[in-house]
């Protein structure tokens, strides 16, 4: 019997969806490992999730303080060694602030918080979240954020698109793009991106809230399944 892949979830002060991420990992058959912001220790996990929430209150800029947490040095080193790192919502903001992902997340176009179920289209299978999927698949998940509009300078955006770093886009049920499907005004309807190496992914939608059919759609299941496979690949046979 192969060992369970161990997925670490970092709790910063103000993290809110940390327990939800741990629950989703367990639901999908992995072992969730709670990590603490103040400890320089990843406890030997095979992948790391930075969860949603309002780390340190997000009073300055979302994710701007969390990047300086002691645990982030370890996360940075883990990412540099090719380890899978996933940032969800506030975690995505932290990864952008840390320079591990390109672009930035700013106030929603409508200037209001939005909590809504959306459809997202998978744009690439090169990422630890989408390794088991093919481009074009449509997944249903919730978003819930006030500052989730992905932006990047024109040149950078061209590079992100040109190098295929977009992992998810907001879309309709059939995968069609359209402004009415874009919950926050994100550039090019971008819902998630990866780094060049392909091991670090950030996304605004919450796959951890979309694995249990008793509380909604299950578009997060294939993403966690992919994450567990890529983590398992690090564990080895």
């Amino acid at each position: 019997m192969s060992p369970l892949p161990r997925i670490g979830v970092v709790t910063f002060p103000g993290s809110l969806d940390d327990l939800d991420a741990l629950r989703a990992v367990a639901f999908m058959g992995g072992e969730g490992v709670a990590l603490w912001h103040a400890e320089r220790d990843l406890r030997g996990v095979d992948a790391v999730i930075l969860p949603g929430g309002f780390s340190y209150g997000d009073y300055l800029r979302c994710g701007a303080i969390a990047r300086f947490a002691p645990v982030m040095d370890e996360v940075g080193a883990f990412a540099a060694s090719g380890g899978p790192v996933i940032g969800i919502c506030n975690g995505f903001q932290v990864l952008c602030e840390s320079g591990l992902l390109p672009g930035a997340l700013v106030r929603n176009r409508q200037l209001r918080f939005v909590c809504r179920w959306v459809d997202v289209r998978v744009e690439t299978s090169v990422s630890p979240l989408t390794g088991d999927l093919v481009a074009g698949e449509v997944l249903r998940m919730p978003v819930k954020h006030g500052e989730g509009r992905f932006v990047a300078a024109d040149e950078q955006l061209d590079r992100i698109e040109g190098e295929g770093l977009v992992v998810f886009r907001y879309c309709g049920e059939d995968g069609a793009l359209g402004d009415e499907y874009n919950p926050n005004g994100a550039s090019n309807a971008i819902a998630g991106v990866r780094n060049e190496a392909g091991n670090v992914v950030g996304l605004m939608p919450h796959p951890e809230h979309a694995v249990d059919p008793d509380v909604g759609a299950t578009g997060g299941q294939p993403l966690f399944a992919s994450l567990l496979s890529s983590a398992l690949a690090r564990v080895g046979p």
Binding site: P13, G14, L16, D17, F54, H206, V215
Partner: protein
Amino acid sequence: MTEPLHRALGLTDDEFGLIRSTLGREPNRDELAMYGAMWSEHCSYKSSKIHLRSLPTEGPRLLVGPGQDAGAVDVGGGLAAVFKMESHSHPSAIEPYQGAATGVGGIVRDVVAMGARPVAILDPLRFGPLSDERNRWLFEGVVAGIGGYGNCIGVPTVGGELQFAGPHSANPTVNVMCVGVAPVDRLVTSTRQVHEGSVLVLFGAATGRDGIGGVSVLASRTLEDGAEETRPSVQIGDPFAEKLLIEASLELVERGVLEGLQDLGGAGITCAVSESAARAGLGAELDLDAVPLREPGLEPFEILTSESQERMLAIVPPGRLDEVRAVCARWGLPAVVVGRLVAGGTLRVRAGAATVAEVPARSLADEAPEFARPREAPPGQEDLVNDDPTFATVTTSPEDAFVSLLSSPNVAGKRWVWEQYDSIVQGGTVRGPGGDAALVRIEGTLRALALSSDGKGRFGLLDPYLGAAHAVAESARNVACTGATPIAITNCLNFGNPERPEVMWQFAESVRGIGDACRAFETPVTGGNVSFYNESGDSAIWPTAMIGMLGVIEDYRLAVPQAFGPGSMIYLAGETFAELGGSEFGEAVVGIVGGRPPALDLDRERSLHRLLVDAADAGLLESAHDCAEGGLAVTLAESAIAGGTGFAVSIPGDEPSHIGLFAESASRAVVSVDPARAGELEDTASELEVPLTRLGETGGPRIVFDGVFEMTVDEARAIHENAIPVLLAG
């Protein structure tokens, strides 16, 4: 001549005399400030107590009744649901964002203080019409404040209720309800043994000048011209600090190191310390020099009555102090010993070398005077209800009336509001906002809490007894529509100035209505809050008894949706009478707020709840939806819109069609059922003696009222969902 200090602090001359005789001397300034806060209407319930005592507060599931931070009921499996509703209307009228935000913070701390993890927030709201720019500012600010705070603390906002009415223009009603879950044996109730010598640990945020006089200046007086100048009395919220406070408090409870836990809300540290001591039959020593301050130079009375947010007081045996400090440090929260419990019953407050106050703790906490204030029905009350309740002369076409109702802000979809709230964090939201009741599952079980909040202000204006009883009935019906059994209520009673006999009459009648309904449904009152002085000039808000109902469903997989699916038979459970008095139709279509509200037969209502719950248990129902504002037509349309599935029905009876379509008779629900199982439903209904009338069937893209009018579901949805955004665009 300047006003005597005690009057400036909100105390009457009689109360001042009482304080003097309790102390046997003249109270000093700091002591007067403490009494002013603790004996305020907001803290002492001095006008309402004698009425509230008549409410039913016992039942087999009841664990904690009124008088503590929040009530608690046994929900099975060794777990308790803890819940409470409170008003933050006064601060919200002055500063809507912070007023609403700190309302959320306060009620969440009440639940945490019982040792429970908060799992849901609901927000029933009332504003003046959105045609007015200031009302739009208040509305948008309150919604943003609730979201801004609630979304940052990891507690889902799963429901609420929203209505608009002219008398709420100057005085919006902002009520917040929080529900928590805790193991029964871990509840921090006042029956815990608290010992002499135990230390008082203040942890959380530092104390500043915000919120001084919140209970006495804001919440216990009417807002007159110049009310904006009281803005410094509005507290400022820090949800990040609250999140840390929640986690630290629950960790302390889990480790079993506390004898008591109290949040610092109205009347600040004075309230927390005096209540803790009085409950234990002890006194306390409080050292103000130890209290961490946000700025230097606070006067003792300011520290004593500050309502700075995100603070808690723990009662700790000296031997466990290090553990408490360590937990707080882990969450980055300052924790300091500010005093200890002592024998003798005296609360002694020191600042520097001086003793600044020395008063019996019990006199602050429990011995405020009680008033049996005069009450009398307002002149013209009878005339209000004597209008023709059938509105026989109405000439508006049924279709035009339907469109007016569907787009009336009271009936229209509230998506604009609830999409601004995180309704899914914690992963337990089986059913979120937008339906009859929210369902939040209890982790690790198939059980879910069913939650609904309801108030019937228009009915309350016309007949406060009926208005309050209808609010209880509707909240129970909403819970039963999901298949859950109603268990218990909390409430927030929103009224004008109790010193006016007509307001006191409205209040007493409302309490009587709640009591009768709760006895009939066996849903005891676990606690609540009274918000008086919601008036400006001569204009009081509509008497609004807001009810928060908690129910339980044993297997949430059997919960019944509100939405229609295709191929079902539609039934009306209950009966429609010629009752348009106080209806949405009356106000939105005819322009009349008058007539006698629908009759309420509490036994028939209870039978309907039984039918809904039994039918859900048996898996008979494809959908169920409560009939309320806008009547049968709106109920049918809402189920169609929710499911994207149309229907064709004929409205029974030989009354004029506007009665069948729009009357708001009580004790009704629209249910749909698989035709193969319709017989079983009819049998169950007949056993319970609930009238059941077949209306038609579901399916197709149109909503069809046979021989009256029809339109597409998409058209109806657009009318329903766009109404509020369009009004907000000005």
